[in-house]
Point group: C2
DNA sequence: CTGAAAGCGCTTACAG
DNA sequence: CTGAAAGCGCTTACAG
């Protein structure tokens, strides 16, 4: 059909040999131009680049990976992809990866069931991977990370103080953030602040629960027993409605979704926000400013966390020393849901 | 270090040749066992499988793709990954893909800027792809899909009636869903229903806006001018607060996030929900039942939509005829935000 | 049912 | 700065 010579038929996508032929250089030279490796004269480089553009040549990635052993796929392990913290972290990983020409393949760890954990890992290991990033906010992801072969570069994004896998990581300091909101509530005049906490009991020694506790202790305030809740806001609805002591006037929630449940629970209990109880969330969800009352929260930079985790992975892949674990600032966002207690 | 013979050194991961050697068959036979292609005697099959397990052999996917031309990576193009509709659709694609041993590589089309659209597509095309699924709820994704080479199998998930790319697709019928909620509002006794609509003006002829309009027309009700809003709930806040006519008693929103903004806007305007105005959303977001008042909505099966879109893609890849485009049911979820108008 | 061999499209020493 | 050649680890006709 065509007279472009062998290998340049109309249906077949062009290979590196076609480019070499068109630009009258060797295959090796085309490869060097494309990879920026080795030295190539400007004249030849220009010729090759022109041929590449004319032919619409795109290197065959499979061949590239086979011979070089270097993939551009980053596996991502996450237990959730919707909630603000998880979601924004994943977006951060994706963005930073995209800027480096890496693509992210997401594998969701559905439950803590070892079979689900293994399945999520296997799905990833079926591909040639540059490395794996774990969004290590859940034990299931820690378990998944531990299933990776030692030879696989890995890194994770996590909250400060978590019990976790031994991979390099970036972390977000929700302890300082919790301190910030707790102090805000105390500054408003509340005697103490109650707390809805997600996680197993020992979780209380870490992260936002630790920050809340320390802020209270630093001012010599009474530290109420934290109310245990789950990620499901129904649990915070019940806790706020049924278990919050009558004398509580301020409530710090695990995150904004937890706070949303609490807001509803308090309403069902006939307690007004902020008149009877001040409520604060965590993460500054995009919709929190639209609630009625709008929700006081603290903005965490999950997005930057994701980017940093990806950078940690890249450093590990390139065998550079791990970059410094930057402190990500938290910003208090006071809104209508927090106010001074009634006199 | 080891005496396992050539090629089986300790650091190197085993290849198909190692498995062949260990099970005393040819490489071709190992390949047949692993791929379930060709006929292999049960005895040999068992031996091979044992060797695979013992060596912890995992085929090199890059080599596989290079020679077979068949990748197991599905590219996914989406303009958003957070909102309920987008998010649940993506999860559906991911799940269905995982069940088939395919992994999903997500590429986010950040804006409608042609450069962003092209970048999202290029990121994907850098990999060997089995095909591409587009979450075609936004024009930017349609544009991205159109940039794909004709030889690339593609499919999309979309809403009914949208102006879209010519790829095979699965669709969700938000028109019937809109009819359902609108009728619910009318059944409650409202004279008519106002509407907050996302999309360019012609959008009014399609999807949820069309369903709303037809439900009103079918009962001979006045059809108010739809209030144009964007995906950003701040716009619905303003519209509900500033532009909703005084005599409006019922408001159908584009989605639950839009409704959230509207709820706030109405509150700021001093109008109570549902006493003064009934409000309904769309999509039944996980948090909508926790709002106060809880939000009347209609549940769309985005998750199934995602699964179906993936099935469409697989059919296209396998050159089977496209599966039937199943109708995905919508379920009305009446809650506190809708009630009879005041007498 | 089985094996020997070609070949997928690149990168990378190696030699000049 | 450049090219000829080996080889990455598989799948797949082809021949038996």
């Amino acid at each position: 059909m065509s007279s472009d010579g062998p290998g340049a038929g109309p249906g077949k996508r062009p290979g590196i040999a076609d480019v070499a032929r068109a630009s009258r250089v060797s295959i090796a030279t085309v490869s060097r131009v494309l990879n920026g490796s080795g030295q190539v004269s400007d004249r030849r480089r220009a010729t090759v680049l022109r041929a590449v553009a004319e032919l619409g040549y795109r290197p065959n990635e499979a061949a590239r990976v086979l011979v070089s052993g270097r993939s551009r796929i980053v596996g991502l392990l996450a237990a959730d992809t919707r909630r603000t913290g998880h979601h924004a972290t994943i977006r951060g990983v994706q963005e930073a990866a995209g800027e480096r020409g890496l693509i992210v393949a997401v594998s969701v760890v559905r439950t803590e069931d070892p079979a689900d954990v293994a399945a999520a890992v296997e799905l990833l290991l079926g591909q040639p991977l540059a490395g794996v990033v774990g969004v290590e906010f859940d034990d299931s992801v820690t378990a998944a990370l531990e299933l990776l072969p030692a030879s696989m570069p890995a890194a994770s994004a996590r909250r400060i103080g978590a019990r976790v896998s031994p991979v390099p990581h970036a972390h977000i300091d929700d302890e300082v953030a919790a301190r910030l909101v707790t102090e805000h509530l105390l500054d408003l005049g509340h005697d103490t602040v109650h707390h809805l906490s997600v996680g197993p009991p020992p979780e209380e020694g870490r992260g936002r629960t630790a920050g809340w506790r320390r802020a209270l202790e630093a001012r010599g305030r009474r530290v109420p027993e934290p109310l245990p809740v789950t990620w499901d806001p129904t649990s915070s609805l019940r806790a706020a409605r049924d278990d919050l002591p009558d004398d509580a006037t301020a409530l710090l929630c695990f995150n904004d979704e937890t706070a949303l449940g609490a807001l509803r629970g308090l309403a069902e209990a006939g307690r007004r926000v902020p008149e009877d109880v001040s409520v604060a969330g965590f993460d500054d969800d995009p919709v929190s400013r639209l609630l009625h009352p709008s929700l006081t929260s603290v903005r965490m930079d999950w997005h930057a966390l994701g980017r940093l985790a990806l950078e940690q992975l890249v450093a590990r892949i390139e065998e550079r020393p791990a970059p410094d674990d930057v402190a990500l600032p938290a910003v208090l966002v006071p809104r209508e849901s927090s106010a001074p207690p009634r006199a």
